[in-house]
Amino acid sequence: MLRGVRRAAGLLLAALFVLAAAGCWDYKEVEDMGHVMLTSVDLTHRGKFCLRVQVLVPAALAGGGGAGGMAGGGAARGGGARKPYRHYLAEADTLFEAFRDLTTKAPRRLFFAHNQVILVGERLARERGVGPVVDFFERNPQIRRDTWLLVARGDLKELMDVSSILDPLPGRHILGVVDNRDLSSRVAATRLGDFVEMLESPGREAYTGVVEMVPSETVSRIGLTPGAAGPDPAKDIRITGAAVFKGDKLAGFLDNREARGLLWLRGEVRGGPVEFALPGGGRVAVEILRAGRGAVKLEPVLSEGRLSMRVRIKTRVNLVEAQAPGLELDKPAVIYGLEEELSRAIRGEVEAALARLQGEYRADAFGFGEAVHRRYPRAWRQIKGEWEGYFAALPVEVEVKTSIRRTGLIKKPLVPKGGDKIKGIQGG
């Protein structure tokens, strides 16, 4: 029996030695780490990378900070409560150098696993290209592939300071806005992993969403007390449109309408509004129900040596707003008429994007080249060298089929007393 006990004690001791010798080597406490919530990279005037990270300040969040000093924060409180974040900046020729330069300033070990947004400055994207940046981030195990990679317009320093009382952390603020993208489907935001794929696949140019700063229309910088500046910058973040790349260099921007057109062709529209005017006056707005990837078909057509594209989009919508009294929504013919108008409006969006990308940027963000490659691999091999030229001249036929599923809780448009009925689309 004693032997058994001795053996057990020996085993226990051995286990302890093993644990002590092999364990703990990558031990780090949460509170010893600087959690980066937002990263931005830009180019300095001297052509170096300028890396800016936003580190969480947990202590400021602990005391219900962040929101503090917002509304009633007078002059006495100065900047109000501490900001729940702190920025660190480093400049270097390589990103890694810059990252390690940060560690000489930040008191905590920086940790990037929770960084959900990477901002790339417009200048860097245009002049140097995003290739080296993306390469670094893809290599780094701490950076997740589902991190949003966005192009930032305007002063990054200021932009990274924009937060709101709803989300005191600017990084999370941007993330929250990006998460709403499907409600408008006018922003072509892209995750790092997808971006890399687009960057590397031939016949398809990369694109991503754009973050910019807009003056806030509702929050006034001037507090109630004269001269007191509220801590909340009177600025808002807005994500908008798309930044289209050619290779890894920024080719140009798309506005919201053009970005929607791009998303239609990429099959990324998952909601959002479409509005259109009726020929007889009045306006109607519909909400797109998940169109999804299966709803778009890119069909390259090669006939008699001439390449053209046929694009088919199918979507279903709900009518949500009808500023057209007298519109007889219970008649199928009226609905068919509306569907036709709607198709025209969507076609308009697609054509706007086509015009911009074919005519101006000559960047095939639609992935037409890829479609050609798939359908006509042999032809593709011949033309892929001059695809840019082919793309710019490619005739595209857009065909949109829509169907209106529901018209909301009420059937007829609301008619106020004495209001004139607008002559809508007449049935039959």
């Binding site: 057990a8 002590a20 364990g23 703990c24 406490e29 969480l56 947990p58 202590a59």
Partner: protein, 552 residues
Amino acid sequence: MVVRRVLRQLARLLPKKKKSLQAVESGVQWEKSYEAAELKQRPVSARLVENVSFLNEVLGHNSDFVLREIRLGVGAGVPAALAYVDGLVDRAIVSDTLIKGLTLEGRMAGLKAGDAGDLLLLAKNFLVSVAAVKEAADYFALLNGLLYGEVALLIDGEDRALLVDAKGWAVRNIEEPASEGLVRGPREGFTELMRTNTALIRRRLRDPNLVVEGLCFGERTRTQVEIVYIRGLAAPELVQEVKDRLSRIHIDGILESGQIEELIEDNPYTPFPQVFHTERPDRVVSMLLEGRVAIITDGTPIVLVVPAEFAVFMQAGEDYYERYFLATAIRWLRYIALVTSLTLPSLYIAMTTYHQEMIPPRLLTSVASSREGIPFPAFVEALLMEFFFEALREAGIRLPRQVGQAVSIVGALVIGQAAVSANIVSPLMVIVVALTGIASFAAPVFSLAITMRLLRFPMMVCAATLGLYGIVAGLLAILVHAAGLRSFGIPYLAPLAPLHRRDLKDMLVRAPTWAMDHRPTELVKGDKRRQAPGQVPRPGSRRPPGGGGGGA
């Protein structure tokens, strides 16, 4: 070499082998002690004077020993004596039945001295109107009976003593079991009196095959122990094994069934319980019906049941009385709670010190802000809090109820409030500890909850040194260990490993009563069928039971 030396040093700290029991001199008795072997050698004398003087010598100085001398029969009568231990016997029986019967009725019957020789038989057959009597030929049997509440009748000229069963001592009533309450089901619990306990079982199981076999343990306590099983259901080898293991026990005292448990379990070096214990007769009966063997110990309401595999400890009696949907859900709740109580603190440690990337970002901000300014690493913090919690729990159990309340208030305030606001521990850690505590209370059987409580600490060490890898390694080690255990020959993880698909009906789910047609595979070799198959109730079906599944 160094390791060997360290180990040797360590071994020195461990307890040395105890001296054998025989060598220990009992210095308690001031005069002379009477060993059982010696007493068995001495027959009861035919002379009353000798017997009386012997009894006085052994028990005479005890204030609760009563020796009443009487005379039997007509004339001067035959000298006789009644001896008993006051408090263990029913005095009404002694005076109304025994003394009256022997003296008054003996005189009326005209008992004479000449009848000596048959006098004891006469008294036994005609005068003592008490249910159970037996004869004792030696002093051991005499004393044994005396000390177990029997009245000894000694008659001059008879070399045997008559032991009359007149047990009557203060007992606790049958009450609701304190440690195993339930909402639906019988409220009766076992008591300290073994006879009551066997009666509680028999009343639920009117089967002539129910066997109650008595044994006696403890050189000094002479505790009555009985094994109960159903002939034909319990495997004969199992019953024999139980008897063999019990017969190997040589100990001076058995005070509680826990001692027997430790002396008969298969693997002494494991934190896992291998013997089930319960206070509920219905639970014991249901386990007897599965072919298990119960061991009832006199003097404790806790009845042991063997074999007991892991699954048994996750079942509560109520599972079979509630509807099976709820019972299954509750059972899964228990499994989750079990894993929680084992791993939650270690998961917290591993996640916050090694795998921060696994924490969802929003949770991370609250984790980070709650950990901000805490002076201890997560492991120390967790250890500290678990220690506090366990100490609090221990204090709560032992203290009298009035003080116990104060303990919980102090504990809740000190740990819950002050420690957090003083930044000694993080609020998150308090939540983790509280959740762990609640989860460990959700275990239906306390003995398994204790196991998890104990294993939690090595798991925390694993998590603190190797992170999630350590937790997985620890869990695997526990699993491998548990898979290697056996309880009276039954693999500990029985329906799972080895896999008996049919028995999973009572492990992963609690199948409806009409679906549990079979007894556990590992236990019953003979009568496997529990009930007629195909008893799913449906309206309008008039089929006789057993007609559904093609017959038993």
